[in-house]
Symmetry: C2
Subunit: 271 residues, 2 copies
Amino acid sequence: MDNRPIGVFDSGLGGLTAVRALRRLLPSEDLIYFGDTSRVPYGGRSRETILKYARQDMRFLRSFDLKAILIACGTVSTTSLPTLQRENDLPMVGVVEPTCRRAVDMTANKKVGLIATLASVRSGVYEKTIAALDPEIQVYAKACPLFVPLVENGRFQPGDPVIEIVAREYLEEMRSTDMDTLILGCTHYPLLTDIIGRIMGPEVTLISAGEESAYELKRTLKAQELLADPSRSGDAAYYVSDRVEDFEKIAAWFLQEDLHHEANQIDIDRY
Amino acid sequence: MDNRPIGVFDSGLGGLTAVRALRRLLPSEDLIYFGDTSRVPYGGRSRETILKYARQDMRFLRSFDLKAILIACGTVSTTSLPTLQRENDLPMVGVVEPTCRRAVDMTANKKVGLIATLASVRSGVYEKTIAALDPEIQVYAKACPLFVPLVENGRFQPGDPVIEIVAREYLEEMRSTDMDTLILGCTHYPLLTDIIGRIMGPEVTLISAGEESAYELKRTLKAQELLADPSRSGDAAYYVSDRVEDFEKIAAWFLQEDLHHEANQIDIDRY
């Protein structure tokens, strides 16, 4: 039993969909979230810069006494996870591998779709990870660059004509395949689950990267006997690197619950 | 006479609409453009972060021997221009003042609209600048946070249902006033001129921030006898902080001409 908090970080606020899953799966755990909102998005940067930023994010989180870390950022998960794992002696979970494992488990016809940011699709890491698990699986990848700005501007409600048109366009070619499993490879996308689900139809299983990484973290904590006292009620603290003014509103979208915590702003360059 | 180049920078590629105006107005001048494409957009970020980024952009540009700088970024112009002017001993032109002067000249009924990014609208700088020029003028300001990502994803063509719906929503309250002049306070917006113009109607004059700042720079160079030899033909070099692969295509949208230059990628974190 270990009541120390779990650290979670993302380049921005999308990682809060992983926090939402963690709070449901692990209600006794304390969480410390860091969103690097002053430097979001990481996707277009060089590997060296991403690693530099990820190391700073880690150093900030490790200023707390943590028992584990969830990297709720696709770009860091795909580029820097092995290095960060080597440099830090605590359990660390990323989003790619658990998500791919779940997709491989779920697909019956071995046809899996992936929607993600441009950088994640370009990296090819999801395809590589799936191929290592089952080389027969065919992956259809599609970048959806407008999903993040639309979600961040609150346009994720079913019936909003703008998100409906954009989603239909992005998913059109996916629908013309007979894939049965679709990875939502960006932590912003769970807010679009209803819209994407309706377009793809009930025969397609949607896999959320944030949620799968939360399951993986629970498995890891259990295996290493690091779970918190189940009688306690966990709390969460939120840190960001840019202005905190809109945090409560936007965070409530991702967490799908009212938030009674202000975020604290920190200067990530100091770490 | 001074044949040294002019530096131009923007958070992304929108500032190329100012480059387009400069090339028309000052065909003998060499231009060095920097677009901070790895950190675009600046518009939603805090003043502190924007100033930090703008200082890095300046340091990169000043690694060249420049005679003047045009800040083709509405967000930097509204939040950081006086500080940058204090810190740098060369002529520097932003987009706000020339744009406001033009709007004050053009309005007959003293009702002026402003559309811009969230940070620019929040700054209140356009209102303050217009009030200093003519305190009787009423300004209607509206942030249009989705215009930049939509333009950057190529959705600026009249008839595209997504941009048409978003533009109509943003401009609805503007149309209910009887303003006769509308400032396009972001250098991305000139690509939306046809759509905005059709929604607002022919009685509303659109003022482009990028174009007005180019006129202002020409006036400044002339007054300080810094114009280049008029017999020479100016060239332009392009630098960005993100991948250069898509630069040529997107730059051609903003410049409205075919581009025969590749961009060079630099690491802005080093400046």
